[in-house]
């Protein structure tokens, strides 16, 4: 019995696991950023949903004029950036929970982060092209 215990015991201390990496390899950083971005998205989403609802049926000229207004452009850039950060982090957790093989998990997370970054940059470029 004693030998079996020894074989299955890790020598790493709980502190060592938490301090450096832990199972997620990043401590609480990811968890904390998910909360920070969610709080930032509360006012941004409220503003965006109301604005888009009021833009319902607006044509190209009216929509572009709305995007081009400085504060709208700034808030749109913020909304796009924070949304895709929060989205990538959230989908990452789903993949970590349900993907069982390490390489599948890593490849899927890298793909999601790449796609989210590309989409955020494309959206930001569109806003800047209209507003600048």
């Amino acid at each position: 019995m004693a030998n079996e215990y020894a074989r299955n015991t890790t020598l790493r201390s709980p502190l060592g696991r938490v301090r450096g990496l832990g199972a997620a390899r990043s401590g609480v950083h990811h968890w904390w950023l998910q909360r920070v971005t969610s709080m930032a998205l509360l006012p941004l989403t409220l503003w965006f949903v109301l604005s888009v609802a009021l833009l319902a049926g607006a044509g190209h000229a009216a929509t572009v004029a709305w995007i081009a207004r400085p504060w709208n452009a700034v808030l749109l850039l913020l909304t796009v950036g924070v949304t895709f950060h929060h989205l990538a982090a959230g989908v990452q957790v789903i993949i970590e929970d349900y993907a069982n093989q390490e390489w599948v998990k890593m490849a899927a997370i890298l793909a999601v982060k790449t796609i989210c970054l590309v989409l955020a940059l494309a959206a930001a470029l569109a806003v800047l092209r209209i507003a600048v």
Binding site: E4, V49, A56, G59, H60, N100, E102, K105, I130
Partner: protein, 149 residues
């Protein structure tokens, strides 16, 4: 210890309090949950609505890129948004976004240490459902009024 090939290994092998090894059920072991309970139903709905909102974010990118590209590309977005499929999609995204937002506030309260007891959990869960319905209806009343104006 060798490197894990399958993350389930971490949850499968455990020890009873008397020290004997035991193989635990696999995560996420859906068989142990009754998904008709409001607690677990709202929990998984939080994830699903987050993913649905991600689909809405794709539409946001398309909308912005089309607006920057010109009236022709923007016409395609308008055609989709006013089609039956597009309206169902946008209605679903708006409802999912409101649910995810209100449920997210509930989660932030839990993270701060509030509302963990069972009666409060059920009460806040009902608030989230009612709030989602009310906020979604208000959103569409505003949108339809703006459309008609």
């Amino acid at each position: 210890m060798s490197i894990m090939q399958d993350s389930r290994e971490a949850t499968m092998l455990g020890r009873r309090s008397d020290g004997t090894p035991v193989r635990r059920p696999l995560s996420p072991h859906l068989q142990v949950y009754d998904m008709m309970q409001m607690t677990s139903a709202l929990s998984i709905a939080g994830r699903i609505t987050g993913v649905v909102w991600g689909g809405g974010a794709l539409f946001l990118v398309w909308w912005l890129m089309a607006a920057a590209a010109g009236p022709g590309a923007f016409g395609a977005v308008q055609w989709f948004a006013s089609s039956f499929v597009g309206l169902v999609f946008l209605f679903g995204v708006s409802a999912a976004a409101w649910f995810h937002t209100l449920n997210g506030i509930r989660h932030l309260a839990w993270d701060a240490g509030h509302g963990y007891d069972i009666p409060t959990t059920y009460r806040t869960g009902r608030w989230v459902l009612v709030g989602t319905a009310v906020a979604t209806v208000i959103t569409w009343i505003i949108a339809i009024a703006a459309w008609a104006a």
